[in-house]
Amino acid sequence: MTAPWTCRSCPALASYRLNIEDNDLQQLIERGAPIPHSDSDPEDSELLRLLGGRVVRDKRCVHLPTPAGEYDVYVSLLRGGHGLGDVLERKPAAVEADVEEGHLLPRYAERIYGVVPGDPAATQQRRAEIRLRRGERAVPVAQWREQTRNRVLAKDFLYPVKDMYRESMALSERWAGEFRAFWDLPDDFTF
């Protein structure tokens, strides 16, 4: 239910966990009240709306063996987020079909694909706007390198990422040289 985005590389980790323990699912069933069936939109979670209980909800997707009680709810979502090609070139009918079939949350059809369902003129206009916005926000790579270089020099990294770079540079002199050359770093730069 996520937005297809990346062209070639690995997709973003589009996953989270949601556990609801000591919940009132049993009472809902006994009363014949509506029960949750999916968690298709994490920003409007059906599970959280319909179930009360002790909630664990975060981006850790590793479940260690922990005891679960009857009626405890355990949701673990692992979903890909990648696609191929420019989103603005996807046929509007195909985007509409994705929404109809529940593969794409409706608000992303317009936001990402620029598709206004059933309105070709509005779709064309929205897509032109998105293209213009790209031009306003994107910068030449040379300029971006200049800006980003300072963050490399400042070693502004999360510690596992910094460790990864330190190890990679220690393992391969060639790779270290390419990394320093790309960011125009001093010859003795290490993490």
């Binding site: 239910m1 996520t2 937005a3 985005w5 990346t6 062209c7 070639r8 590389s9 690995c10 997709p11 973003a12 980790l13 589009a14 996953s15 989270y16 939109d41 994490p42 920003e43 909800r57 975060d58 981006k59 979903r79 987020g81 191929l84 090609g85 420019d86 989103v87 603005l88 070139e89 949350l105 992303y108 936001r111 990402i112 293209r131 213009l132 790209r134 031009g135 926000r137 994107a138 910068v139 030449p140 790579v141 040379a142 971006w144 980003t148 963050r151 490399v152 990294f157 999360l158 596992p160 990422v161 990864m164 390419e178 990394f179 050359a181 790309f182 960011w183």
Partner: protein, 253 residues
């Protein structure tokens, strides 16, 4: 067998019926497919440079009128020599905050930008999205073509021939028709029935069982179960002797 041009046109458009597409995917690639594919693409770009190798939907390696090989976008932007990373000449927008991730993904479903950022590369001429990289923050970006296609392209530069016509066999030095399948570009392992058969024979002599691979050429290898339960491989050496020899391996030996 060669597919009619219209089928390749439909393939490019994504309008080929699924069953036809599935049959195509399961069949061996017809020798002229790549040439037809390139010629279909050639008819759809708004410029006249000759396409040598399509890299993606909107990026192609082309030969310019002054005989240079360059990376060019469908929108007409010239990224320079094909051996140079075209991304260095592109426009970039990096998504490196939760706020920017949430433009694309519902909360909790995007990546943590401290672990991974998205780099979007755009064509400076048409603002078409050319590629997205999902990378650790501040990773350097120095190489864009895997080694094998790069070597093939260098061959193109040396010989002046389009990639699809001829390439030099590394082993024999002979110039031959380029196989039109991905494994010929060094992507994945190329099936070699003769090698598989030799391996099966050697394993069999050592008392090990080996399942023979499916082979498209029924004359090349036949596998049958004899009434005594021993497995016999009928090995064709028709390439050398012109007749079929039968050898028996397995428990009987």
């Amino acid at each position: 067998m060669e597919y009619p041009r219209q089928v390749i046109e439909d393939l490019v458009d994504g309008t080929l019926p699924w069953q036809d597409l599935k049959d195509m995917m399961s069949a061996f690639k017809d020798p002229g497919r790549f040439d037809t594919y390139v010629s279909v693409l050639q008819g759809r770009v708004p410029w006249n440079d000759r396409i040598v190798l399509p890299l993606s939907d909107n990026l192609l390696i082309v030969r310019t009128p002054d005989r240079r090989l360059v990376t060019k976008s469908r929108g007409g932007f010239d990224f320079g020599d094909y051996r140079r990373n075209w991304k260095l000449e592109a426009l970039i927008f990096e998504r490196d905050s939760d706020e920017l991730m949430e433009e694309l993904y519902p909360r909790l479903m995007g990546s943590d930008p401290r672990w991974m950022t998205l780099r979007e590369y755009y064509c400076p001429a048409s603002l078409t999205l050319l590629e997205v990289e999902a990378v650790p923050p501040r990773v350097s970006d120095h190489q864009h073509l895997p080694a094998r296609p790069r070597d093939l392209l260098q061959e193109v530069v040396k010989t002046g021939n389009p990639l699809t016509c001829r390439w030099r066999s590394e082993a024999s030095g002979r110039v031959r028709r380029a196989p039109s399948n991905p494994s010929a570009l060094g992507i994945g392992k190329r099936p070699n029935p003769a090698r598989s058969m030799r391996r099966a024979t050697n394993r069999s002599r050592m008392g090990l069982r080996t399942e023979l691979p499916h082979t498209p050429d029924r004359r090349a290898a036949r596998c049958s179960q004899s009434p005594t339960g021993t497995r016999s491989f009928r090995v064709s050496s028709a390439q050398t002797s012109g007749r079929v020899q039968s050898r028996r391996f397995g428990q009987a030996r």
